[in-house]
Assembly symmetry: C2
Homo-oligomer: 251 residues x 2
Amino acid sequence: MSNLLDILKTKKVVDLTHTLNESFPGLVLPPEMGQVATFKKEQICRYDEKGPGWYWNNFTVGEHFGTHFDAPSHWVTGKDQLNNTVDQIPVENMIAGACVIDASAEVAKNPDFVLTPEFIQEWEKQHGDLEKGSWVLFRTDWSKKTLDAAFTNTDENGLNHTPGPNKEAVEYMISKDVLGFGVETVNTDAGMSFTWEFQLPCHTLMHGAGKYGLQCLKNLDQLPPKGAVIVAAPLKIEDGSGSPLRVLAIV
Amino acid sequence: MSNLLDILKTKKVVDLTHTLNESFPGLVLPPEMGQVATFKKEQICRYDEKGPGWYWNNFTVGEHFGTHFDAPSHWVTGKDQLNNTVDQIPVENMIAGACVIDASAEVAKNPDFVLTPEFIQEWEKQHGDLEKGSWVLFRTDWSKKTLDAAFTNTDENGLNHTPGPNKEAVEYMISKDVLGFGVETVNTDAGMSFTWEFQLPCHTLMHGAGKYGLQCLKNLDQLPPKGAVIVAAPLKIEDGSGSPLRVLAIV
Ligand SMILES: [Mn+2]
Ligand SMILES: [Mn+2]
């Protein structure tokens, strides 16, 4: 058992998390829809008359802001799944392996790059099968963009040009019984998937299958294709659909 | 490396976290002081006209509410420590061992129980020395109280009758270079330490030495005296003094 700690201490911990602050970009939906709160921090005191010895803040944020976790209840297709909220998902799932699929070269050329089963299978030829119970992490280097309009990459029609999987790729990942799908963008689906015949396939099918999502990850370029252990433990928000969280990789 | 995941999968994960909801009790300071926000959740939509396919919430909370982490900058004595905020503390420290000191029998008899160096040394005789870089977790079974007035246990003078370490115990833990001190109550210090000659020794000395705190832990009774691995990764709040978080133990 101290054996486990000894092994862990020989590993490197990589922080896959963006800093939570007031300038981090949030997803903006059409105005008739409800909107996610961007991060706001209010200082209670800082070694002053409101508390001479201490410093602390209150803050407001959306469950789906910054580096964050999507639980199955986030989507209507997942509403009848067991243990579908962040307070109910099994804690065992908060520590899992990762298969990191690198499409950074393709996304550099085409922000609307679509991940297909063929692309995943090409990765599997090199690195072995996707692993049951592991995260699929989609490396696009999107996290290296400036955290402003370039990050959401919205066009004049309000559509986001960001990469994501097609329906068949999502079905393929589900057939492999992965834990979920994690991305560097603010959406596990391609921005343009709003216009597809089968809209938002990753949200719709993954959560419908009881799988999870991670968004706004960074430092995926520091992970091996296989072998990293991901710690992704959301806040225990009662009946929560998701949560900002600290995501760590042990490599 | 997949070796690490294989080992982890043979272990049990224990959730040391209370559920975040609107009835969880927060610390109340004298009225002239700034106050920590209790948890408030506001639904954005739930499969309705504000978002037909999805469910999500915004929420407001204090950095020091619910099961949470204290960074050195929380206290004035830690204000000049390096990496003293939750966005700057080394991620390696978010995975660490634990020494669990059981005073549940003593606290059942006396809610003002004071942890002393002698009590710790008695524990060390049975279980070996406190370990450098490990959490000291103070098991009191306080988390089994109802989450209401019994939890903060405030008397008619506004003083909280809850257990904690004396100055000498804190100095002893620091001399062993532990990572920090974690408790089941809402305060790493004894409630009555407000009245001591050296007030709030755990906050004052631990944070002054660059050490951390964890509060409102539960399920410490499921941990061995030594050998558990604690994952305590706070939100990456810019310049944050602390954070609600999910705390897991791997046993
Ligand atoms: Mn989300
Ligand atoms: Mn605190």
